[in-house]
């Protein structure tokens, strides 16, 4: 056990540092949270306990609220981690959310399809966008930034075209499956559960499979990976397709949550997704990063947004604090603990001598 802990602390320094940032933020959130006015009773796994003036931040209802609200972005961030590990980027995910949401709403309300058909079609639509991204990047060897910038613009247009610039309300029509869909797919257990399952799946994919190793290798040194005979084109196609698929999943959840297929959904969402991945310690240069880090990054953003919101901090100040935390979180990962101790010893040495 001790051996494992030492190993973890020395070899996964980036994760340890992300965890420290998360723990500090969590403590801050608890301290600065407004308190309940009366008593609050916890009901967890049959155990109940009553406390007075409990921090609202720690109420189960609030914690699950913040997890659900941030799940769509966090789900896409899982795929984006793979993309960024290969040294790429995917700017089209925000537009893909919109495409998936409008496809889902259109099928449910106007075509009166079943819930499963609409959901599968939306995810497939997302996956196809990803496949186009990955295919073009792999075949034409054009920078991912350019290809996904183009699809970001084009897919937004397609999403708006599908619904003729209008929004499709799920409750407005006479479709039972639409109402059913909105009810089930916006449940906290479903949304948060989906995120957890996907996080585990993508964690295993990166940690324990050949694809995961190829992804890391390509990010470390793309040319070497190619010369070593890795199927780089197929790997690229796979990671972008997976990310598109996850954006499709996020679109389905967003559609259910808002009861609405809105072609303007997810504008600038790609930036939130990238922020989550970067705070999680994944390097934009590729090669270095992990799914666990991304989950931590998602929690950092979620907790920060929530505690600022609970205190009703001005929106513009919120943006500035968010910027500060992004920079601090990334700086915290680049500082090496060894360097700090060395510096400390030197400083002590120089003062005692």
């Amino acid at each position: 056990m001790k051996q494992w802990l030492t190993n973890f602390l020395t070899h996964r320094r980036d994760l340890v540092q992300s965890l420290i940032v998360l723990a500090i933020l969590f403590t801050f959130a608890v301290i600065f949270s407004p308190r309940t006015r009366g008593e609050y009773t916890y009901n967890l796994f049959g155990l109940s306990c009553t406390v007075e003036h409990w921090p609202i931040f720690l109420k189960i209802e609030n914690l699950t609220d913040l997890l659900r609200a941030n799940s769509p972005v966090a789900i896409i961030a899982l795929g984006m981690t793979f993309v960024i590990l290969t040294g790429g980027i995917d700017l089209s995910v925000g537009s893909t959310i919109a495409l998936s949401a409008v496809v889902c709403a259109t099928l449910l309300v106007e075509q009166q399809t079943s819930m499963a058909t609409a959901m599968i079609a939306s995810m497939v639509a997302g996956g196809l966008v990803g496949l186009v991204n990955g295919g073009l990047i792999a075949l034409l060897r054009i920078q991912p930034f350019i290809i996904t910038l183009a699809t970001m613009i084009g897919i937004r247009g397609l999403a708006r075209l599908v619904v003729n610039n209008e929004q499709i309300g799920l409750v407005g029509g006479q479709s039972d499956s639409a109402i059913h869909f909105a009810h089930i797919m916006s449940q906290k257990s479903v949304v948060i559960g989906a995120f957890l399952l996907l996080a585990i799946a993508f964690g295993l994919l990166l940690w324990g499979t050949v694809l995961g190793r190829y992804v890391r290798a390509m990010g470390d040194n793309a040319r070497a990976a190619q010369y070593a005979g890795l199927p780089t084109r197929r790997v690229l196609a796979a990671v972008y397709t997976l990310t598109g698929l996850l954006a499709g999943v996020a679109g389905v959840f967003t559609c259910a949550r808002t009861n609405n297929g809105n072609p303007n959904e997810g504008i600038a969402a790609e930036l939130s997704v990238i922020a989550v991945v970067v705070i999680g310690g994944t390097s934009l240069a590729g090669g270095r990063g992990s799914v666990t880090g991304t989950v931590i990054g998602a929690l950092v953003i979620a907790i920060l947004t929530n505690i600022l919101g609970l205190n009703n901090v001005d929106a513009n100040v919120q943006s500035m604090i968010m910027a500060l935390v992004i920079i601090l979180a990334v700086v915290a990962q680049t500082i090496s603990l060894g360097a700090v101790t060395r510096w400390w010893r030197q400083w002590r040495g120089s003062t005692t001598n």
């Binding site: 949550r257 809105n262 959904e265």
Partner: protein, 328 residues
């Protein structure tokens, strides 16, 4: 070689797309007889088709001008890009339309090009957003501050009914910071609400006009106040509706008591939410279409007609009562 083939294929496909993507839709029948019948060309420079309010505006414009066979009506889409809208208006001027209608994206950037249209002798109607200089024949608009005041008065009235006197706890969900409409809708409402010290704003969050973001803000508001809320004032209907969904999920009983107020009142959006009982009221932000068509047709057909420089259209409250009165 391979790359060349792919480029050629992409080019071919995009050319096909251009071909079938042409959206300029004159409503006069095609062919020689149609061209003879159409005496007037009306170009509408819309700043951004991809907003529900503007999509509805386009739809109603097309329907209204379809009643006049002598008019060919064309819409251009500025796609929320001022430079694009400017060049589209420049193109429009080259076509010498008999009437130009502009819904400007931004007041400062569109002023000069609308001046060029006026210089070219094209009657120009400026819709809904004012520009920096009066480079228009007439300006048709609605006052967001007044809409805010109407919402404020409605909130006071409802709180008095609910709590016996004008007191209560208000959550405000604002539009995008730095956008004039959001500032005006806030200022108007608080001009009224600030007169009542017992009306307290317990939370003011920014939903950026989006239902999705407003829902997260509403969750924070609900948790922070532990559900002690009397009124939610959303700067548009989707945000007010999102707030309703959040409160309904957390406490269905409370959702029936909270007064949800929205703005915009589009027929199949805000008005529908009021009809379904989700919102207590919405305040119509007029599409300005009927007035623009009325004034526009007079400019086209009556050479002696002198339009007023500005027409400020009144808003109207949509409540369950007004909806019931309409159907009676």
């Amino acid at each position: 070689m391979q790359r060349g083939l792919i480029t050629a294929a992409v080019l071919a496909v995009s050319l096909c797309l251009v071909g079938c993507g042409k959206t300029e839709s004159g409503n006069a029948p095609a062919g020689a007889s149609g061209e003879q019948a159409a005496k007037y060309l009306v170009i509408f420079s819309q700043c951004n088709n991809a907003e529900p309010y503007r999509a509805e505006q386009n739809k109603q414009f097309a329907a209204a001008f379809a009643r006049y066979p002598q008019v060919v009506f064309v819409i251009t889409d500025g796609q929320a890009d001022a430079a694009k809208q400017i060049s589209q208006i420049e193109n429009a001027i080259q076509r010498q339309p008999d009437l130009l209608i502009v819904a400007p994206l931004e007041r400062n950037s569109l002023t000069a090009v609308m001046g060029k249209a006026m210089e070219a002798g094209i009657p120009t109607i400026c819709l809904e957003r004012d520009i920096a200089q009066p480079n228009y024949t007439t300006f048709i608009s609605c006052d967001n501050v007044e809409i805010g005041r109407m919402a404020g008065r409605f909130i006071v009235e409802q709180l008095t009914k609910k709590n016996g006197s004008p007191k209560g706890r208000v959550v405000e969900l604002t539009g995008m910071k730095g956008v004039k409409a959001a500032g005006d809708r806030h200022d108007g409402a608080y001009e009224i609400l600030d007169k009542y010290p017992e009306i307290e704003t317990v939370f003011s969050g920014t939903g950026n006009w989006f239902q999705n973001e407003a829902m997260t803000r509403m969750e924070e508001a609900y948790n922070a106040t532990e559900g002690r809320i009397d009124v939610v004032y959303g700067h548009n209907d989707p945000m007010a509706y999102g707030a309703y969904l959040v409160v309904k999920e957390k406490n269905p009983e409370l959702a029936k008591q909270v007064i949800f107020v929205g703005v915009d009142g589009l027929p199949d959006e805000g008005q529908e939410y009021v009809r379904k009982g989700y919102l207590s009221a919405t305040f119509i932000y007029p599409l300005c279409v009927d007035k623009a068509v009325e004034v526009g047709m007079k400019i086209l057909e009556d050479k002696d007609f002198k339009p007023k420089t500005t027409y400020i259209l009144p808003s109207a409250a949509v409540t369950p009562e007004t909806l019931a009165a309409k159907t009676d």
